[in-house]
Symmetry: C2
Subunit: 319 residues, 2 copies
Amino acid sequence: MNDVVAALLEHRAFVISGHRGPDGDSLGSALALKSGLEQIGKQALVVSPDAIPSAYRVLPGIETVRRVTDLPSGYPVAVLVECSSLERSGLDGYEGRLVLNIDHHSKNPLFGDVNWIDPGASAVGVMIYRVLQSLGVETTPDIASLIYVAILTDTGSFRFSNTNPEAFRVCAELLERGADPAFLATAMYDNMPAAKARLLGRALTSLEYESAGSVALMSLPYEAFLEYEGEPDTEGVVNHAQAIEGVDVSLLFKEMAPGRFRISLRANESADVAAVAAVFGGGGHPRAAGCTIEGDYATVRERILGEVDRRLPGGAESS
Amino acid sequence: MNDVVAALLEHRAFVISGHRGPDGDSLGSALALKSGLEQIGKQALVVSPDAIPSAYRVLPGIETVRRVTDLPSGYPVAVLVECSSLERSGLDGYEGRLVLNIDHHSKNPLFGDVNWIDPGASAVGVMIYRVLQSLGVETTPDIASLIYVAILTDTGSFRFSNTNPEAFRVCAELLERGADPAFLATAMYDNMPAAKARLLGRALTSLEYESAGSVALMSLPYEAFLEYEGEPDTEGVVNHAQAIEGVDVSLLFKEMAPGRFRISLRANESADVAAVAAVFGGGGHPRAAGCTIEGDYATVRERILGEVDRRLPGGAESS
């Protein structure tokens, strides 16, 4: 952390970027850092490589975020938060900057001039909080709310295994500094678009089970998306199958075009769905992955189930 | 708290009971107190007025809980946790006991011989944690897990407005003492019965909206329950409608018998659904209520919507 703090003290103007598909941790961390830097007389601009999902419109300062393509000159130092690569920040086309790389993923490839990676941090927001404390920044209600959203969302409302004592201690302090936990949780989680609720309902009514109930399958046929206005949002739908008693692996088949299935996979500790997705040219993490397969539904279903079965406990490639 | 601690130190054997419809706070608090009392050489038995939902089978010591009707003699002191009345503990038929009443609801009617009510506590689990600290009890991994579940569930995974700095600070300590946040959250929340997932899907596909999208309605017809084995579980289903963008009030119509609708109501701060339910002989809280109306669906729907509309912002009885 000390190198990051030194670089922030040394320079005057910073462009801060999160990653593609901005989320609560990248946006909350970036905006909290901007606010803190401004408090000590620095200049800072937050840019985003992608459009910002509507849930985050409650974040203080969100209206100042520019698209990375609108970045003006005059920001010789870039701070990248929670980016697995320079490309993921959208700043890869802008050479000649000093890059500070702040992340909590152990596989970060250390692409920065200064790299600070702490896999022990629940969220990058926790790391930014430490930086701001070190810089002597006062935790305003805005900063408290921003760091709180970073921790809240990256721990899945304190349900994921990255939830740790430091995250809880920091949250205690943030509440004392003005973060409103119920308001922010409602803004983050109670905002499902009506059309998405219908898609979720349709997916749940399609539920079927294989392997004695340990594999749950849901499907959304092409016509379900036809009636959807705009970009269909199925983020999180597969998690509802994963939350069913006895389910180890969940699959959601989305027929994005006739005969073309985008498949979302989730697993608990008992199987590696990234390996399943990789067979079909997809990718992800052991617990959450995705791939695309073309064919008729019955064939696609059979092909992927075969790969899932081999990796379930007792299957050919189970450990 | 001091009177409670004094009474626990003075006596030797305790029966501990939570409330009807046991939940994470009442069970976690009761079992943590039992474990702590045993650690300092006391005798304690946890009883429950109702059967224990399966989610709580992961609680350490849950196998020792007896139904209140099986209570043996020899427990002259009763500790009631999170009970709004003696009747709610199931211990009202057992006269002659010293009653310690520990609760965090401000409306607790102080029915005990010793009453300790702290509306500032996120959960009764936090109060029990303070008692155990005061008694010099070591926070074992079992006690840590029990108190953690109490706080986790009573704050809705830290999303409700009772989430406060003390809750977060206590949780930090509980994690250091061996509570596993991801394991416990999965046990509490990722356990939806498969049949309930189908009911939820059916309810979501029935979604319709009134009052420019501010009122969401879902319905489950009688035949949806006919195919359900055992007692139909619709707990929490209405919350999925309440989580939709722009929705202020949600209604779930459950046709439990032909022409007999049990209605669950939820609201944000903009309306008082307890007042709506009261019109039809039901009850609840301003944000969560229920009632039963007989008639055909169209009529029932119209009657209750009329009452809801009057209480929406701009309606006849809005404030």
